[in-house]
């Protein structure tokens, strides 16, 4: 939980594997990095067992690059595909029992504030649509109503991909899946609206076919969660196995879904706008100067 843990124990450097040495010497810790530098530095995410071409993996990869201070971040997850990659990173990962990830993150976030005071320690929950909107729904909503200061990211693949293709609350109405052969009979849950009602300071929907946008959204959400309140990001991360999307068409699908029903949206409270502007120098929320009045011709 600080730059002190991202270094070699004395005398052990030569025994460490190459990946570990690269991480210490060329990782993102203590530096400012962005997606434009990808491929030139050692990333915190390592090799993992997720499927080839998985859009969720791409989103997790981008999210880990976007964390403002990876050395001061803890991720919390739960059962589901995502944890297979999230746990394979040089960032401490807490595995909550199914559905209690937001409860665990609440305690963790409060504990870190007691222990470290003003020094920012970021807690980021990354869980699937089942973990967030179905099984963890109660704890997710309560953490938002309590305005717990951490970020919740839903990796929305619209299915229980890890257990064979059952419908989730986030599956679209009518979707036929391997374990939902009659098609889903109910509408997709509107978690974005619920997050706003519950008082989240920042709510965004995003699709991973725009890496810079993903980076910007994650940075804002994590920074706002440091002081203002709960933040929520809902990311469309298709399951190419359960929805039978050819791996080389995953980004085409993401683009189509973005145009169809997952358009980028961003809600940010006035308090959060002010915080980002004053504390971190964001300029996009500054009041634009009024257009100059039409010139009045001088009287002769």
């Amino acid at each position: 939980m600080s730059l002190d843990y991202v270094k070699f124990s004395s005398g052990f450097e030569k025994f460490m594997p190459k990946e570990y040495r690269d991480m210490v010497e060329h990782g993102p810790f203590g530096k400012k990095i962005s997606v434009s530098q990808m491929g030139s530095f050692k990333e915190v995410l390592e090799e993992h067992p997720m499927c080839a071409g998985c859009a969720m993996t791409l989103f997790i990869r981008l999210a880990m690059i976007a964390f403002p201070n990876p050395e001061d971040t803890i991720t919390v997850g739960t059962a589901g595909c995502g944890r297979l990659a999230i746990s394979q990173a040089a960032i401490p990962f807490v595995y909550g029992n199914y559905g209690d990830q937001n409860g665990v993150a609440s305690g963790l976030s409060r504990g870190l504030r007691l222990r470290f005071g003003d020094k920012p320690k970021d807690v980021v929950v990354m869980a699937g649509d089942g973990g967030t909107a179905d099984i963890g729904f109660q704890q997710v909503l309560h953490s938002w109503f309590r305005k717990e200061r951490f970020t919740t990211i839903m990796l929305d693949n619209e299915v229980y991909g890890n257990t064979g293709g059952q419908e989730s609350g986030m599956t679209n109405r009518g979707a036929v899946l391997k374990m939902a052969p009659l098609g889903k009979k109910f509408e997709k849950m509107d978690m974005v609206q619920m997050a706003k009602v519950a008082g989240c300071a920042y709510v965004a929907t995003v699709v991973p076919n725009n890496p810079r946008r993903v980076e910007s959204v994650i940075k804002k959400a994590v920074l706002i969660a440091r002081e203002v309140g709960s933040t929520y990001i809902q990311a469309y991360t298709s399951c190419n196995i359960e929805y039978a999307i050819p791996t080389d068409k995953v980004m085409e699908d993401a683009k189509n879904v973005e145009n169809d029903r997952y358009a980028f949206s961003e809600y940010i409270s006035d308090e959060a706008k002010q915080y980002l502007t004053e504390r971190y120098g964001y300029k996009e929320f500054l009041q634009k100067p009024a257009a100059p009045a039409a010139a009045i011709p001088n009287k002769a």
Binding site: S40, V44, E46, E47, A52, G53, L58, E252
Partner: protein, 107 residues
């Protein structure tokens, strides 16, 4: 044998858009090297694939063909690649990486 992505350095170094490095779902698999392009007289560097990490999804091929419109990436059987980058032979620098290309198939 299985397919891995292979990047044509001459096409890539002429454009150097780096899009594939941002869209690969695997970390540190499509890497970027200044030297690969500059050694061949190009102004920019080129992307290359650490084939031991490539899972063969071909997302980079779609991105290169349809978003960048460079058509620089092809899927190739790994034993058809005479030389390729492997994670063990990649060295990180300040703003770029360097890779020693070797035969990816041992034995």
């Amino acid at each position: 044998m299985y397919l891995v992505a292979d990047i044509d350095v001459e096409i890539c170094a002429a454009k150097s858009c780096k899009l594939c490095t941002q869209y690969c779902p695997e970390a540190n698999t499509i890497q970027y090297s200044d030297e690969l392009g500059k050694d061949k007289g190009f102004k920019y560097g080129s992307a290359y694939v650490a084939v031991d990490r490539c899972k063969g999804c071909a997302q980079c091929v779609w991105v290169c063909d349809n978003m960048a419109k460079n058509h620089a990436i092809k899927m190739i059987m790994i034993d058809q690649l005479p030389k390729a980058a492997l994670t063990d032979n990649i060295t990180y620098g300040e703003k770029s990486t360097t890779a020693v290309l070797v035969s990816p198939v041992v034995g």
